[in-house]
Subunit: 415 residues, 2 copies
């Protein structure tokens, strides 16, 4: 593996520890799966009664833990989450399925729960057999150590090529009762989530039925995790899960059964904010990233068309290398709009870098100023906007630039 | 623009000059559009009676010359072709249309033909106004200089970031009469042709109707130019044209009116061979390329599904960076199969690097040998094969690796 990169220049300026969530205890430890001298296993333990929802990769070759979680989600109850980094347990055949079963058995024993209440994820190299027996002592120890809080340590334990731990927090009100929403994520590479990103977990003490939880999550993911890309490559392990302990019920919150009820309006907003915060952190920590790029498409035929065009821009190697070179190369944005396959009319198209309109009505803006456009490209955050001039469809997605460091990191990740 | 790279290590070992084609005269010159100290304009002059066919980019924002050629193809006659490098005349609005008209007018005057018998192409920066008045003297001079042969010089005049000129030749027999098929192409970046690649021109002395010519070309492009990718970015200028002078008629070839007639069987095969040769040269000269990669997908649900999966592998930044790093990272091939959106069953999937089967039936091959797999990755040409084990659909596509040089070339191409 390549030497760990310095922290991304796009990382948050400070890392604040989110508050504890009643009903969730965390512990991070080292099982030595791949990395030495750092934590690589996270155990989250939930009090009885926690509900759970999840969205997963649309890959046709999902990892063994993704298959496991999909299956266990049916009853909507969770007692523990085990995440290991360094090995994805993907494309590992029967041995992979056995490794997930063994991990669930060890975790169930450690926390005193049923196996089918344990949720699992693995992230790292694909195709390498995972030796789950390494979790044997570790999970027992972590179950004993688990405590409220410790979010940053937990986020660190699930990192692979990430350069900083990703956490987010918000406070929402349900029926006048304050509840907390905390999340953590890991990202870095193989990031073009098609249901969720690599690994992200959100926790709350709100009391919400599994059915309502699932609806909130499935809706929230669309404009957050499903709107970021690092390299257009969709992982076999994408997992986003939301756990609700229900502890707020003791403080007077009536358990919410329906996602679209009035009582969950504020919660849904705050949940989306946490998801968006985490998703943007994933783009900010894309492998080798030096620029955070927001792509806004307006005036498209539909929101769906706008999103396809936005991703065509955000995934274009030529747009991303231009951003890396701080080159106001708007011609490549035209190219990416043109190749997206959605309706576009050259002579109605306008493009902006930041506040600078660089192209208008099918040609370079008459007031085009190279110096001003270049200045917009020198910022850490670059906003690219394309207006199609056709209708009202719009979408915003986030990505990062494509640098030599991305190539270096991925030229020798495995060996 | 970045300093010119050394010649690609994947370039042909020698560059042979194709034979002249009766009825075609060539001349290359310097108009100083963008490059200094090199040729940047190609003029090809055809004797009266030449037929023409073409396929173009599917971009919704095509260049002005693409619009021009599409329109003029309707009558199927050609007297001249003008190609300039350094400026794409794309997204240049009304001024761009006027520049194509002026170029056609100047060329028509220089060769003594009608404007609508002139075909045009421009390649280079998008969005920059093209000053066609620079062609004024140049085209007159080139028309006077044009001579049979000079294919390598012609191919050099249309290069942008290409590191070597791309030509190919074949001899075919129609009705017992030998005819010649020569082609030239330019590629390098923004290469994911969706009808044709950046710019490619094929010439023959065969006598074939424009209608038959178009059918042969549209069929031939599918498994050749539409099966290569450098960076998944589709250009606004993709143009592939085929010109047939009909000179072979004087030597007894009966003019072919139908593409599917028996007489054109050998010609169609040789045409496809020339197209494939040129398309593969484009992949071999992809920006920054150090590895030529062939991706073969077998056992898919259909040929169409196989091609989509093959391109998912060939366009994956993670597969391409692994190739650059000579890393036998077959897990990324699993990822790319999984994200393609076509039917795949993890437990039926097998993967080979060269002759080495690395994965079988949903897991690492039991006989996996890292040293043997690594040796396959050290070759200049890497063959990646994925068998889906579902049905008989198959496809082969070609690409190159993704290197730091690609990022360097495209980080400062424009400025």
């Amino acid at each position: 593996m390549a030497a760990a990169a310095a922290v991304s220049p796009l990382a948050p300026k400070k890392f604040a520890e989110p508050p504890p969530i009643e009903g969730v205890r965390l512990a991070a430890g080292a099982a030595g799966i791949r990395y030495q001298g750092r934590t690589d296993v996270l155990l989250a333990v939930f009090d009885e009664g926690a509900t759970v929802a999840g969205v997963f990769t649309t890959s046709k070759c999902p990892s063994a833990p993704v298959d496991w979680c999909r299956d266990k989600l049916r009853h909507g109850r969770a007692r523990a989450l085990v995440v290991n980094s360094g090995n994805a347990n993907a494309f590992t055949g029967k041995a992979g399925r056995e490794a997930t079963e063994m991990t669930a058995r060890l975790a169930a024993k450690a926390v005193g729960a049923k196996e089918d209440e344990i949720f699992l994820a693995s992230t790292g190299v694909i195709g390498e057999p995972l030796d789950a027996s390494k979790f044997d002592d570790v999970l027992e120890r972590l179950a004993a150590q688990a405590r409220p809080g410790g979010w940053l340590d937990a986020a660190r334990a699930i990192m692979t090529t990430d350069t900083f731990p990703k956490v987010a927090t918000a406070t929402a009100t349900i029926d006048g009762v304050e509840v907390t929403v905390n999340g953590m994520a890991k990202g870095a590479g193989m990031i073009a989530p098609n249901m969720a990103t690599m690994l992200a977990y959100v926790f709350t003490d709100a009391a919400i039925s599994a059915e309502a939880l699932q609806k909130l999550l499935s809706k929230g993911v669309k404009s957050t995790f499903n709107a970021v890309t690092v390299d257009s490559d969709t992982s076999t392990s994408d997992t986003l899960m939301l756990f609700a302990t229900g502890a707020a019920e003791k403080r007077g919150q009536k358990k919410a059964k329906k996602a679209n009820g009035k009582s969950l309006k504020d919660f849904a907003e705050k949940l989306d904010a946490v998801l968006l915060d985490l998703a943007q952190q994933v783009a900010r920590d894309g492998e080798g990233a030096r620029k955070f790029i927001e792509v806004r498409v307006t005036g498209a035929e539909s929101d769906k068309a706008a999103k396809k065009i936005a991703f065509s821009i955000a995934n274009s190697p030529l747009v991303k290398t231009a951003a890396a070179g701080e080159d106001a190369n708007w011609g490549r944005v035209v190219m990416a709009v043109g190749k997206a396959g959605e309706k576009a009319e050259r002579d109605l198209l306008s493009i902006w870098f930041g506040d600078i309109r660089v192209a208008h009505e099918g040609r370079r803006d008459p007031d085009y100023d190279e110096a001003a456009a270049s200045a917009a490209m020198k910022q850490d955050k670059i906003v690219i906007r394309a207006d199609l001039g056709l209708a009202k469809g719009e979408a915003t997605v986030w990505t990062c630039d494509l640098t030599k460091e991305y190539v270096a990191i991925n030229g020798d990740y495995r060996s």
